[in-house]
């Protein structure tokens, strides 16, 4: 102690490290809500960030219009065909839904409902670090957003989960981040698995579906959805599609590489599911 008092610089450094440690502990004890210091700084910074994000989006849109016009036109044509195919599939499934409803009534089952309460938010910051995949949103605890809530895109695709909530801002850990883990299933076969982030795949924009048997029936293009197990994510939120199947490092099991359905780089607006109630 006398040594520290003699060297005032070291004393100041020790005090600063202790303060930082206290802030980290406070942050972890608040259950994902921002510590008072982080909340204050984030709240002050957030309007500036929103302005810059809007400007960056405008410049990116202009760049896209000027230099990617042909690619966008081609994508537009492809999407028109895809819409037509999906409309045809929807008409076929409508007949199945009607039959399902009649059978439910016959058996005395209650109607299947999915009640979600949403809060929309714009993205003010993305991937501020090269080591994690995160987004910062323009809404926070003042709008009912809380840590652990699921975030989806306008199309209903899984984006991630709220990691930290300030008063007027919140951060999202995206589905490709190494901290991400969720129960999932393959739509075609009903096979259950776990989807999780992986550092190597995160840098390529993918995630992985783990704990599969080596002879598992999973094909390229299979759609993967959340299973709802664990209660954090509602069931039937689209995660992505299988792109490849590999044997994992142990050689005993396999894993699939999943391409997320959401385009994280193109996202501007998301929806936070503040509460959900699914009745089967």
């Amino acid at each position: 102690m006398r040594f520290l008092l003699k060297h005032k610089g070291l004393l100041a450094a020790a005090a600063a490290v202790l303060l930082a440690f206290v802030l980290a502990v406070v942050s972890s004890l608040t259950g994902g809500y921002a510590s008072p210091v982080s909340n204050l700084l984030g709240t002050v910074f957030q309007p500036l960030q929103s302005g810059i994000a809007g400007l960056s989006d405008s410049i990116a849109s202009l760049y896209g219009y000027m230099y990617e016009h042909d690619a966008l036109k081609e994508e537009n044509e492809r999407l028109k065909i895809q819409i037509a195919e999906m409309e045809a599939a929807a008409r076929l499934s409508e007949a199945s839904n009607d039959e399902n409803e009649r059978l439910r009534q016959l058996l005395g089952l209650s109607e299947r409902r999915r009640d979600f309460v949403f809060e929309s938010a714009t993205i003010t910051e993305r991937d501020a670090s090269n080591w994690a995949s995160t987004l910062t949103l323009s809404r926070g605890s003042a709008n009912g957003i809380a840590p652990g809530q699921c975030v989806i895109s306008e199309a209903g695709y899984l984006v991630g989960v709220i990691n930290e909530a300030g008063t007027t801002w919140s951060t999202v850990t995206t589905l490709i981040d190494t901290d991400m883990e969720a129960g999932a299933f393959v739509f075609r076969t009903g096979l259950s698995a776990v989807v999780e982030g992986n550092f190597d795949l995160m840098r390529q924009g993918f995630l992985r579906m783990s704990y599969l048997a080596k002879d598992v029936d999973v094909k390229n293009g299979d759609v993967v959805l959340t299973s709802g197990i664990g209660g954090k994510y509602p069931r039937d939120i689209v995660v992505g599609r299988v792109t490849n199947l590999y044997v994992d490092e142990t050689g005993i099991s396999a894993y699939a590489v999943i391409r997320p359905s959401v385009e994280l780089e193109e996202l501007k607006q998301v929806f936070v599911i503040k509460s959900f109630d699914i009745s089967e």
């Binding site: 610089g9 450094a13 980290a24 960030q49 810059i52 910051e125 090269n130 994690a132």
Partner: protein, 176 residues
């Protein structure tokens, strides 16, 4: 001596405003620039240049407070920027006080060393030890990040050295 104290306060306010501008640039613009899968990271450069210009104590204090800002706006882990930037500010200030001239080459090299050191400690503590990533990932991310950031160092250096030259050292009155 009162006028020297006044000039010192203005200098640190200007340093803070310049840092906020760089933080906005980092989070709002540079984060969208992806080359070789990474974005440049100019924030350790800010700490390095100020520490070189103002010395170890001022560099440590400045690094700590701008680290608090970074922890608030850059997920995911609280307090890590504050501690690392404090140590970088103290270390770079101490070394450059004793051994090196305050010029662009020193600033450039200190910036790259600061970024490398930050990346190594950040990665080892938060990713390697908990088993979230393998060692080769450090090289795959840090190497291109340092190369990209090197292109941005001149602009950061010129801005911050302009502040240092304009306001000088408030204790001695000399301009650095």
């Amino acid at each position: 001596m009162a006028w020297l104290r006044y000039r010192g306060i203005v200098k640190w306010i200007v340093y803070s405003l310049v840092f906020l501008a760089f933080l906005l640039l980092q989070t709002g613009v540079l984060a969208r620039v992806r080359v070789w899968g990474v974005s440049p990271n100019i924030l350790p450069t800010v700490v390095a240049v100020v520490a070189m210009s103002e010395g170890r104590t001022a560099g440590a204090v400045y690094g700590f407070f701008i680290g608090l800002w970074c922890d608030a706006v850059i997920p995911p882990v609280p307090a890590v920027h504050a501690v690392l930037f404090l140590l970088l500010g103290a270390g770079i200030g101490h070394v450059t006080e004793k051994l090196f001239r305050k010029n662009f080459l020193t600033g450039f090299l200190c910036s790259l060393v600061a970024l490398a050191a930050f990346d190594v400690v950040f990665f080892v503590v938060l990713y390697l030890i908990p088993g979230r990533a393998a060692l080769h990932n450090l090289v795959l991310v840090a190497a291109p990040e340092i190369a990209l950031t090197a292109l941005c160092v001149p602009a950061v250096y010129v801005s911050l050295r302009a502040v240092a030259r304009r306001f000088g050292n408030e204790l001695t009155g000399e301009t650095s």
